[in-house]
Point group: C2
Chain length 144, copies 2
């Protein structure tokens, strides 16, 4: 058995939390003010950095096209529903990570609202199913 | 050269238009009334069936979790941004297919509002980037 010090680093989480770092949450910014989306991203990075095992990988993106419903983020993982989230704020960072952990542990990603932190029960703007890899699935209906 | 009659059928379009067929568009339905989402789906199928070459494959889904902003649909293709669309109606079926054709022809899927039919300039609820396949891309920031 290899000594603990030789253990390989853990794989990165399969679940990704994408955060729009340019989001202004629908308002004008003062000169030099950091976008609320950047502040949310950095709050999430701080929370995740304090955990022994992070349930999600954090990834900044520029514009999720939900500007009027920001801050905005996406929970996504291969083969699962992707969830687009809005009306977020840095104060929700801890709850977002708890939701991310529930999402990571769920087979399809369809975590019921009652299984999310109460503060996040109304933040889902929509969801997108995992697309079949190459060939259409039996459920797919070709256009012709 | 093989005669035309032996030609293989064309590949299905790489671009998929997913339509929530259970969407009630935020209202109660009368007894036996078809959901607006189903009517939208069937209108799209009718339009696509009349085309010589369909730019998108149509796929029904149940619940895109945008119930208060329905009818809802998604434009998606491998490696492109996925777009979540709301406030749709059967009258927009033809314009949606025109948007689908522009999306299919665009390298990243990020069709500018000015390049969409005018009726669809405000229907985007959000967008989700294509996830990197297996390993995190250089742009990805691991949580730890």
């Amino acid at each position: 058995m290899a000594p603990a010090g030789d253990a390989a680093p853990p794989d990165p989480p399969a679940c990704t939390l994408l955060v729009c770092v340019t989001c202004r949450a629908g308002r004008a910014l003062a000169e030099g003010e950091a976008p609320p989306g950047r502040i949310l991203h950095d709050a999430l990075a701080g929370h995740l950095g304090a955990l022994a095992t992070a349930p999600v990988s954090l990834r900044p993106v520029t514009c999720l096209a939900a500007c009027d419903r920001g801050c905005a983020a996406v929970l996504a993982a291969p083969g699962k529903w992707s969830y687009l989230l809005g009306h977020l704020s840095p104060a929700l960072a801890g709850d977002l990570i708890a939701y991310g952990a529930a999402y990571a542990a769920h087979a399809s990603g369809a975590v019921l609202p009652s299984r999310r932190p109460a503060s996040l029960r109304s933040v889902v703007l929509g969801r997108i199913p995992a697309l079949p890899p190459a060939d259409p699935s039996p459920a797919a209906i070709p256009a012709r």
